[in-house]
């Protein structure tokens, strides 16, 4: 079991959700976050002076999947979230020890 954590552009959330649905995955959680990557934010202008907005709004998507599905889901997210421009986001993949469905006490792959 792995958790796929994808940081994506807010305006790409709908595309990513639709792509995941098409791929047959229902379980998902999303969080609105702020952050920056290696460009450290963006520059804006006010009355002729530049200033840096260092934290930009992003959306974090977390999906826990079977080991066998990691490659496929990761690919789905990448395809849906990519624009080719800087700031497209990142995907981090973590190991997950276990999962429990509270209603039924089911554990492991069947619970996700």
């Amino acid at each position: 079991m792995k958790k796929i954590e994808a940081i994506i552009r807010p305006e790409k959330v709908d595309d990513v959700l639709a792509a995941l649905e098409d791929a047959g995955y229902a379980g998902i959680m999303i969080t609105e976050i702020k952050g920056h990557g290696k460009q450290k934010g963006i520059t804006q202008q006010w009355r002729g002076s530049e200033f840096r907005i260092s934290l930009l709004p992003k959306v974090k998507i977390e999906i826990v999947v079977k080991d066998a599905d990691v490659a496929k889901i990761t690919k789905t997210v990448i395809n849906a979230a990519k624009t080719g421009n800087i700031g497209d986001g990142k995907i981090f993949i973590y190991p997950v020890d276990d999962a429990v469905r509270i209603r039924t006490d089911e554990r492991g792959d069947v619970a996700i």
Binding site: Q44, Q45, W46, R47, G48, E50, R52, S54
Partner: protein
Amino acid sequence: MKKLSSIFFILIGLFLITSIPVLAEEAAQGQSAVAVTTAAPAIPAAQDVKIRLADPSGISTGNTSDITAAKPGSPTTGEITDAIGHNKIAINLMWTLITGFLVMFMQAGFAMVETGFTRAKNVAHTMAMNLMIYPLGMIGFYVCGFAIMFGGMGALGTLGGYAGLDSEFTISLFGKTFGLIGTKGFFLNGVYDVGVFGLFLFQMVFMDTTATIPTGAMAERWKYASFVIYGLLVGSVIYPVFGNWVWGGGWLSTLGSNFGLGHGHVDFAGSSVVHMTGGVIAIVGAKILGARIGKYNADKSPNAIPGHSIPMAVIGTFILAFGWFGFNPGSTLAGTDLRISVIAVNTMLASATGAFAATLWMWWVRGNKPDPSMMCNGMLAGLVAITAPCAFVSAGGAAVIGLISGVLVIEAAFFIERKLRIDDPVGAIAVHGVNGAWGCIALGLLADGTYGDGWNGVAGTVKGLFYGGGSSQLVAEIIGVSANIIYVGIISYIIFKLIDLAIGNRVSPETEIAGLDVPEMGVPGYSGVKLDPHSETPFSR
């Protein structure tokens, strides 16, 4: 707070003491006036009046039978000329009042521009200053400002000819008379005349325009209590003295008749009287207050502190541009002076070229984006600059004046921010101070000699340097501009320093960082909205 409320009660007391005896006296005057006029509008006997049919086209409504006559339907020549005169003054008074109402609405424009250009955590405070400057300024103007400014202006030419504003304090120098301040009309006492009241309304909203300019330059750090004291003093003392010199018959208006300097200092609608005065108070106030926390880095370079609402500022700019159709054309004090169409067109042309020049200058010369806040400043700069010369220049002159103002406002804003290091969050000093001065000088250069015959008691029209008028009008304008800087600079410095000694001008750093809304006003301007402190606080290095 105690000090403030005692000032308020002293004011009310003063008002009661001075007005009670006069109220009785004027009521008596009113009585006799009624007695004289009752003869005229006697209800005509039914048989004298033609039964009027409904008039859907409007062509025949308003005719001989509408002229007040002893014998209805057959007015005498005297009765007809009376009616014509009355109509002329009615048109003038109506024009003055309606344009005054437009200028009053500019208070809303100022509130929105200033609040839009400042941060979300200070909106209740900035708005509250813009709200209260209207009553505070008005109270000061009512108590003594109007009397100081217009107490000696002489007969009201366009508003009925009443000559009761006849008391000017003067001094004699080099064998010439210099008017300094008027001394009649305190609390509007002793000048109970419809023309004077029309004039009061119009001039009061002009004064309040000046009064609300510094609240922008001093925003986001000015202690509210200090502001309240300033608000009472600007309308009662700071503004009306210079106003008297230019519009109330004072010494700047007689530079022409006394010394042959053109028509004296000519300022049609207030580039100097209103806008420069506001701009000079603003620069003195902003300098004394100091910059907002975070505005300048240790190496003295400035940081941008973005305003929180460009939509609000843009709507405010439009409200101001709309109100300016009252400001400039209304300054004829006469709807029967048909120059008003030229004035209105010149006003709108300068606003267009000002905004256009500012946009291009930011886009191509000074930045790489066309900056909405500078567009607003550019439009306002054009309006401020055309305010003095609007009645005296051609359409081309107006367009050029606006064009230059649009560049001037940006360069001035940069100079004030980066060289003088005075923190003016909204650009009020560049818009009103610098372009107010430019407007007066532009008049001395570009007045085209088609208007202003007899202005300030000098025969002939107003002519600038480029139209064969020589340099004398320009010199009079420069003297007026210099006098404004010196007088307004000194008096506002003294007033702000005294307020500082008494109660302090600036809020505490904790208040400033938290935002002035809750500590100063007790309520957030955007209640229930989560503000993002990260988006509005710059990094000081």
